[in-house]
């Protein structure tokens, strides 16, 4: 339902390199607490990157810095080679919020919310054109929410709300999409649908940064991983970074860890151990040293 592969047209305003580059980023909040210190990583277009860390490790803080919500006390963030403020004015970034940041009693319909994604493309009176209306129809269709378009936004389930905000980011046509914990409280089917959509967007050259506690699905769909705990512990391709050693470093004692091997697991000569790592959502299963990728469709499209 969610995953007819449609091509996303490139938005001419941002037909440049849609990358995120974070250099030496330090964020200190007003109360003197330094939530992130000296974080550095670079991401290229056509990538899905997971931002993984314990509660309070600074994931949302990094999102806030990318959105210009908090001013770095040192270092900088550049989006498509531009300073944050300038990139935002060009509609380069779309943001799918953690659900508690939105007022659900607000009198807006689902289609109004998606239309807000188009505001940045309209003139200062924000009058939608026919093309804008067409784009919200299309975005709603892609996330399978067309039937709910006339509902008030609070009258949806948690997973449906997430899809609506995803539709808004589609309508916004940002080259960079930030998703703060899109899978919390979402069932397996919706999760698969969201992942399918992210893959389509990757194929169209978008860059997505996804914070998640869903360790198990990371190797399924993420090309890169940034592991953080108040600074960047490791960043790079999933296969290199998303290892048991790194994860244990990132999560310390928080991670639940089960490991089986030898006669407890095998009755043949297979010497690999089965390790299950979880920080409470979907667990990560390691067979030997390799993440158990369940789904071969994650193969990244060849670089252009």
């Amino acid at each position: 339902m969610l995953t007819q592969p449609t091509r996303v047209e490139l938005n001419p305003a941002s037909a440049l390199v849609a990358g995120i580059s974070v250099h030496g980023l330090t964020v200190t909040y007003n109360n003197g607490f330094t939530a992130v210190r000296d974080a550095t990583f670079d991401l290229e277009p056509g990538t899905i990157c997971a931002l993984v860390g314990v509660n309070g490790s600074g994931k949302s803080t990094i999102f806030k810095a990318i959105m210009g919500f908090v001013r770095p006390s040192a270092g900088e963030v550049r989006l498509c080679g531009r300073p944050v403020e300038e990139a935002l004015k060009r509609n380069i970034v779309a943001y799918v919020p953690q659900s508690e940041d939105v007022d659900w009693n607000f009198p807006v319909l689902v289609e109004d919310v998606v239309m807000m994604g188009r505001y940045g493309h309209m003139n200062f009176l924000r009058m939608p054109s026919r093309a804008d209306r067409y784009k919200i129809d299309e975005a709603l269709e892609r996330v399978g929410m067309s039937a709910y378009r006339s509902r008030q936004i609070g009258e949806l389930s948690g997973g449906q709300k997430k899809r609506v905000f995803l539709a808004r980011s589609l309508a916004q046509e940002g080259r960079i999409i930030l998703l703060d914990e899109p899978f919390t409280g979402v069932d397996v089917k919706t999760e698969a649908a969201i992942i399918g959509l992210l893959r389509e967007l990757r194929a169209a050259g978008h860059l997505m940064l996804v914070s998640t506690h869903n360790l198990g699905s990371v190797p399924d769909f993420c090309d890169e991983v940034v592991l953080i705990n108040r600074t960047v512990l490791a960043a790079g391709p999933t296969a290199e970074v998303f290892t048991q050693v790194n994860l244990e470093r990132a999560f310390g004692g928080v991670l639940r860890n089960f490991s089986m091997g030898g006669t407890a697991l095998h009755d043949d000569a297979d010497s690999r151990r089965l390790t299950v790592l979880t920080d409470d959502e979907r667990p990560l299963v390691l067979y030997g040293d390799q993440p158990g990728v369940r789904d071969a469709s994650n193969a990244r499209p060849p670089a252009k």
Binding site: M67, G68, F69, E85, L88, K89, R90, N91, V93, A94, Y95, P97, D101, V102, D103, N105, F106, P107, V108, L109, D112, V113, M116, G117, Y119, G120, F124, L125, R126, Q152, R168, Q172, G174
Partner: protein, 286 residues
């Protein structure tokens, strides 16, 4: 009989009062659409009371009341922000603290320096006795505010609904919020003249709250709210001719009546509609 009902329209001061009230009612209602959604309803009340010393000061110094009121409004907002940042007091406590202190200061000033205009005028408003200068002031404030809101209502809606999204499309949300509170201060000043400090709160809450029961779309909510604000204010000023004074009381009473009607009869969110749906459900199960 008919001739008698048309009498108010033959007095210039009544016409003036009705039109000015309608304009102020409209712009306050526009603001109410945002205020009541953000849970900031009491902010309007706080501002109105805080403005009293500014108005008193302006009368003493002989400058247009709008300047004094506006200055006091800004002072109130800034001190609320300051106290909030430096203590762990909750917002309602801070608001209560700041506005009562300023209101008391206003009463004190009025009792120390005798004024031609009694404090009662500020507290209760008196649109029927409004001077021509004040009409001009109020009309400019309300007109400019309406124009700004008409141009920026969607930007303000996004900012209040989902601030991070507003930022992501490059809107300066800090500026927009500042703009909103500036307009609120200005319109509170205007409303002071029509309904007085005590009832301004009703003007910036009730129309929006009523409209909220009638629609799920923000654009329509604003239109309904403005219609309620403008019509009740016009009619309220008209009726007050017959019962001699107390315009503010009449306007707010009319607004409250409309709210009660919506509360019971609103097609989707009304009490009776909910009851009917429950009955139908029970009927279907039986």
């Amino acid at each position: 009989m008919i001739a008698e009902l048309l009498v108010p329209f033959s007095y210039e001061y009544m016409l003036k009062a009705m039109w000015v009230s309608a304009l102020v009612g409209a712009v306050c209602a526009f603001l109410s659409a945002y205020l009541m959604l953000k849970g900031w309803s009491l902010m309007g009340d706080a501002l109105a009371h805080s403005i009293v010393p500014g108005v008193a000061g302006a009368y003493i110094l002989g400058i247009p009341f709008a300047f004094g009121a506006f200055f006091a409004g800004i002072l109130a907002s800034v001190s609320m922000g300051f106290v909030k940042q430096h203590t762990r007091l909750r917002e309602d406590a801070v608001i209560g603290l700041v506005f009562t202190s300023l209101f008391a200061l206003g009463l004190l000033m009025a009792s120390i320096w005798p004024m031609s205009v009694s404090v009662q005028t500020i507290v209760l408003g008196n649109i029927l006795a409004i001077s021509n200068e004040d009409v001009v002031q109020v009309a400019i404030i309300a007109g400019v505010s309406l124009a700004v809101l008409a141009l920026k209502w969607k930007d303000l809606m996004v900012t209040f609904f989902d601030e991070s999204h507003a930022r992501s499309m490059g809107l300066n949300t800090v500026f927009l919020k500042g703009l909103f509170f500036t307009l609120l201060s200005a319109c509170t000043v205007a409303a002071l003249q029509t309904v007085g400090a005590c009832l301004v709160i009703a003007m910036v809450v009730t129309p929006g709250a009523t409209a909220y029961l009638l629609t799920d779309r923000f654009g329509r909510l604003i239109v309904i709210s403005i219609a309620i604000g403008a019509i009740t204010s016009f009619v309220g000023a008209y009726i007050s001719y017959f019962i001699d004074g107390a315009t503010g009381g009449v306007i707010v009473t009319l607004q409250t009546l409309l709210f009660l009607v919506a509360f019971y009869l609103a097609p989707k969110h009304g009490v009776l509609a909910a009851r009917r749906r429950r009955m139908e459900l029970a009927g279907a199960e039986a």
